[in-house]
Amino acid sequence: MRALAVLLLLAAPALAEEPVSGYDFLLPETQALQDDDFANPGLLWVDRGAAIWAAEGCADCHGAAEESMRGVGAHYPVWSEAHGRILTLDQQIDLCRTERLGLEPLPRGAEEMTALDAYVMHQSRGLPVAVALDHPELAAASARGEDYYRTPRGQLDLSCANCHVENAGRRLRGEVLSQGQANGFPIYRQLWQDIGSLDRMIRWCHESVRAAPPADDDPVWTDLELYLRARGNGLTVETPAVRR
């Protein structure tokens, strides 16, 4: 089924609208590494997240993450009525830590946050991504995210969509372009030999087209994450995925 989907993409890029996981664009060796429940290096950070979960007192409210967090990550980002804004999973975790546990917020890109994110998302592994745009704010933010996604930027004047929609499945020199789906994040990226959040990947993509990423406090980060996650609705959560 997956192989067929890739073949279809190669034959007719116009069909690229059907979401296809980045997994299907990998070499069999890399797929095997992701599928290995011991050797997948991303699991080192899942373990780390589990240790932080236990140490910081997340379990006092949530109990065992295997039960309480099953399927939770697959729905994020969500609209929070209480906070009057959209919350990504990272922002939700940070709110839990600061409001309920009285901890200092983690700096942006902190490895602890990526580990916690990986641990929570990992509990949804195998479930379909199901981000609902069931609030006017969510729909508006997703539209803003899509607008950002389709706007050319940087010295190379490329938009995200130029590669990941219009040319997904084709080669960019030695690599096959994926659709840039977010269903496996946080990912273990072989290029980095490290875990990476969606945030880190978006920064890397900006660098690749020689563009400056948005400022840290720019709300477009949330819009873009929402758009990217909702774009992969129906794909299977693969966290921690292994990518090139």
Binding site: F38, A39, P41, L44, W45, D47, Q193, D194
Partner: protein
Amino acid sequence: MFNTRIRVPESAAAGEAVEIRAMIMHPMDNGFTYSTQGTLIPVNIITDFTCRYLGEVVVQVRLEPGISANPIFTFSLRASESGPVEFEWIDQNGDVTTASAELAVT
């Protein structure tokens, strides 16, 4: 102490060769790469890995800078008696990380 993952079967028949796996979270910086700020990242590696079974060394590896991050070792061990399988990693600063598991031999 670094985060580790080890896999030792819970039980094995006497004389059976079992697969042992051990992995450690470590950047294994080789001293040739630069940070995003353009500064050279100094060498930072694990230098020794040892596995002991029943107190006896069964695998010993000296690691060099060419080894990639988060090194994983997979090897076979012939089960003889019930006892601990102990793992030890030493980094270049002499910091020791250990992990162990019990292997029951029936």
